[in-house]
């Protein structure tokens, strides 16, 4: 079957449209939430790239943005808080023919799930991780998050946060991610370009997406980002330049960069895994051992 098509009836192949990736229910996000833009962008990109819903698995954690799989037509897993990458690694390695996409928030990915981000990055699991970063805990009604700016007043930091936020860009580069990018929900065209590159990338791709929370974060809203975001490609940034990527990633002030900071080719975990040498996904293999396998295993005991 050609990419970008799915069987509607036995004789007719149809190009999927963005609306074909709409889930069974409408999102229950607050009006104006940045997550709408991310969802619409992924639906558009999926259609354009010819992704097939049944060969795709979207894995989320817990949080506003983690309701994502319910709004997207594909296989989906709405898992535990912070465990997107562990679950997604299991899915991908069990069936590496699937397109695996993780969707979750900054608290989920950089806070409670931070350990998995480090290790999934270095393992170079072939998947795309979209972090809908709103710099606040929204579903729990507004507490400080790992990406909240120093000084930010929230319900859990009424006198202002004294902590330094995590930098997902430089952290991911240091952790060994092979594709590190940032985008802004308020610029869907650019977001879609970055998403496409991320999904096309063979290996672990992370896209930190500014997805403003209009209800609980009044510091980092659309008005904050619009004048600040600058596209790396407009400045001729070389995404193969590790040092430049780190330098651009550290920038946070009047200029905040979006685009692909860093991209490098390195074999992904499924390409390196010896048990996958013959190419058949684990999930498609027969469970039963052959008599020859059984005999060899038993003979080693003697």
């Amino acid at each position: 079957m050609a990419a970008g098509t799915t069987i509607i009836d036995d004789t007719k192949l149809v190009q999927l449209k963005a609306k074909d990736f709409k889930g069974k229910v409408e999102p229950d996000w607050c009006p104006g939430c940045g997550d709408f833009g991310v969802l619409a962008s992924l639906q558009k990109v999926a259609a354009e790239m010819g992704i097939q819903p049944h060969n795709t698995c979207v894995v989320s954690g817990i949080g506003c943005s983690s309701n994502f799989p319910g709004y997207f037509n594909s296989y989906g897993m709405h898992t535990l808080h912070g465990r997107i990458l562990a679950v997604a690694t299991g899915v991908k390695m069990a069936n590496h023919s699937l397109t695996v996409i993780g969707t979750g928030g900054d608290g989920d990915g950089y806070g409670i799930g931070g350990n998995h981000l480090t290790h999934t990055s270095r393992r170079n699991v072939d998947m795309t991780y979209l972090v809908l970063n709103n710099q606040i805990y929204g579903l729990t009604t507004g507490q400080v998050s790992p990406t909240s700016c120093t000084g930010m007043k929230t319900k859990s930091t009424p006198f202002g946060s004294v902590e330094t936020p995590v930098n997902p860009i430089t952290s991911s580069i240091m952790n060994g991610a092979t594709f590190v990018a940032r985008a802004f929900s308020g610029d869907p065209k650019h977001l879609q370009m970055v998403m496409t590159k991320a999904i096309e990338h063979k290996g672990f791709s992370i896209v930190d997406i500014f997805s403003p929370c209009v209800t609980f974060n009044h510091d980092n809203d659309y008005a904050f980002f619009r004048p600040r975001v600058k596209k790396l490609e407009d400045e001729g940034h070389d995404s193969g330049d590790w040092k430049a990527a780190c330098e651009k990633g550290l920038e946070w002030g009047d200029t905040i960069y979006t685009g692909v900071f860093y991209q490098v080719k390195r074999p992904s975990l499924d390409e390196l895994e010896p048990v996958l040498e013959d190419g058949t996904p684990m999930s498609a293999r027969s469970e039963a051992l052959t008599t020859e396998q059984s005999d060899r295993i038993l003979s080693r005991m003697m």
Binding site: H54, G90, V91, M93, H116, V275, S283, Q293, I297, M302
Partner: protein, 594 residues
């Protein structure tokens, strides 16, 4: 089991790093090759060098389920071992040691001291491990074995290191053998031969092989004693058995990765000990809510917390029963020994696939790190594999698919990602038949109730699908001993000893915790004259569970929680003191300091 005509126990003691494993392996292999049964228990500590390690190997012409009560032969590799154990040797026992470095203390009557002048015999004072081979030579003579047995074993052990190493070891072993022939009396009964050659495996190897045979295609773990042996077997055999093996950053990651792989269609398992299991528990609830079948193995060690990492206990039963928040369905099984652990894996994989609920296998250090002899003919590497209502193929025009359809038996057909026409979301939030969340916007108490009841229907009549515990011994016995899981061997042997002492006793051992054969067990308790529960923990975890499920009490308790396993005479002594009316709650005294 037939009459035990031959029953011989030897122990090797020393510090970590003194090379106890090698002579232990050589001896164990030599015994099973002769067709003898054995069980080996290694008492050790969480230390790479130093401490005190004490390996007990009990050999018999009949099956062996515990390490017994007495020692016939002690090989002391250091002074500390001699000081700790010599006084516990009884008449007829032999103590073998390097007389250059070890001074025996006061030996009991009838104990033969077999000092070996290692330096003189080997012209070697550099390689400290040489004393082990000299001792092995001497032990061949003491056991009435031909030196050829050791020569073959040494050749097998060292052939990878080259002929020179083999020759050196054989020469050294020969020197020990010849010296023993000239100076020590052999045991009156020579070590016999059995009918067919056997093999050895640990409980962890059996669990791993059981998983492989049951079609496990994805194994992930974080190293943790005493469960690491499962990971080692899996890693070593992954390519042969076609299993993907992943070492993950923590047990939270392990459990969640396992869920991902299982949801994608692989039979998946993971093993850990209590601390790692604690980290997994949130994910176990997730597996239950999403209805993804995964097998979780908990190899118990003495807790709480880091506890005593290298010691055994049956202290995690309530952790399994209470693992994860909420009210959900689970399978819990506590296998008896290595072969039973092997067979349990196929059974539990079939059940977890059939019911789409998480399964927990409750092993412990005693089984998992114990070495058991096994007849390879009894290992069925191709058991029945039944994946239940699994959908692996479909088409886009197959009609509406509901992942959580309200079926009569509570189990809905499960499609895996990649199947056309069956897209759905599995979620840890409560959800409707079609997977849509009813936890947020669409909260609905009636649907919630239906879901809870649908999931619970899976458990209806489930106990009929697993074997009920069987009463061993006369139905009208004066004493009924009750145990669960790994204590089966030692309780059986205690029963034999009690019968020899004129006590009428029977025994039943429980393996399935959930589902629980409450009715069958109630009948046994109601008809028993005096019931005594034997368990390897302090608070009577199994007793309290059994009482909650049957509403019945028992007459006495025997509990051990010092980290060391029961020996048969511990149970015998406790039963006798309870029969004498001294107490209803016995705690045996651990004589051996390890």
């Amino acid at each position: 089991m037939g009459t035990r005509n031959f029953d011989f126990a030897l122990a090797i003691g020393g510090a970590a790093g003194q090379g106890i494993a090698t002579p232990g392996n050589i001896l164990a292999r030599s015994f099973v090759r002769r067709g003898l049964h054995l069980y080996a228990y290694n008492a050790y500590q969480s230390i790479i060098r130093g401490g005190h390690i004490f390996l007990t190997i009990r050999v018999s012409d009949q099956e062996v389920g515990d390490h017994g009560d007495k020692l016939d032969l002690l090989l002391a590799l250091n002074q500390d071992t001699m000081d700790r154990h010599l006084g516990l040797l009884g008449p007829g026992a032999r103590a073998v040691y390097n007389s250059d470095t070890i001074t025996p203390g006061e030996a009991g009557e009838g104990v033969q001291l077999c000092g070996l002048p290692v330096k003189e015999l080997t012209n070697n004072d550099r390689n400290k491990l040489v004393q082990n081979t000299v001792a092995l030579g001497a032990m061949m003579h003491l056991g009435g074995l031909d030196f050829k047995v050791l020569e073959n074993a040494l050749t097998l052990q060292f052939k990878r290191k080259g002929q020179e190493v083999v020759d050196q070891n054989v020469a050294v072993g020969r020197a020990g053998y010849d010296y023993a022939v000239a100076n020590f009396a052999a045991f009156p009964d020579a070590i016999p031969t059995g009918e067919t050659p056997l093999a050895v495996w640990t409980g962890n190897e059996a669990l791993a092989m059981g998983g492989a045979a049951a079609g496990c295609k994805f194994y992930c773990a974080y190293p943790m004693s005493p469960a690491t042996g499962v990971l080692h077997w899996m890693a070593k055999n992954a390519r042969e058995a076609g299993i993907m093996v992943r070492q993950v950053e923590d047990e939270i990651g392990v459990a969640n990765m396992a869920i991902g792989a299982a949801h994608a269609g692989c039979r998946t398992m993971c093993a850990t000990s209590g601390g790692g299991f604690a980290l997994m528990t949130e994910a176990i609830g997730a597996a239950a809510m999403m209805e993804v079948p995964v097998v979780f193995i908990n190899v118990q060690r003495a807790g709480p917390s880091t506890g005593v990492p290298t010691k055994t206990e049956q202290g995690d039963l309530w952790q399994m029963l209470g693992a994860s928040q909420g009210d959900f369905q689970r399978l819990i099984v506590a296998p008896y020994d290595a072969l039973d652990a092997f067979n349990t894996m196929a059974e539990v994989f079939n059940l977890t696939d059939k019911l789409q609920i998480p399964a927990m296998v409750l092993s412990d250090l005693l089984i998992s790190e114990g070495t058991f002899s096994v007849d390879p003919a009894k290992i069925n590497m191709q058991p029945t594999i039944d994946r239940g209502k699994l959908i692996r193929e479909g088409s886009a025009n197959g009609g509406e698919y509901k992942r959580y359809l309200h079926t009569d038996d509570g189990v809905a057909p499960r499609a895996i990602p990649g199947v056309e026409g069956h897209m759905h979301v599995v979620s840890t939030d409560e959800h409707d038949e079609d997977g849509i969340l009813i936890s947020d916007e669409f909260t609905n108490p009636h649907k919630r109730r239906k879901n809870v009841e649908r999931r619970d229907r899976k458990m209806g009549g489930l106990e009929k699908e697993v074997a009920a515990p069987e009463l061993e011994g006369p139905a009208d016995a004066d004493v009924t001993l009750i145990g669960f899981g790994s204590t089966i061997g030692v309780i059986r042997e205690a029963c034999d000893q009690l019968r020899d002492q004129g006590v009428s006793v029977n025994h039943f051992q429980v393996k399935w915790i959930v589902p629980f054969h409450a009715e069958a067990i109630s009948n046994v308790i109601k008809n028993a004259k005096r019931t005594i529960i034997v368990e390897n923990n302090h608070s009577g975890q199994f007793y309290r569970y059994m009482r909650s499920e049957t509403g019945l009490d028992v007459d006495g308790h025997i509990r051990k929680y010092d980290g060391e396993p029961f020996m048969p005479h511990h149970i015998v002594g406790c039963v006798q003191e309870q029969l004498a009316g001294e107490t209803t709650h016995s705690v045996p005294y651990q004589e051996i300091m390890v």
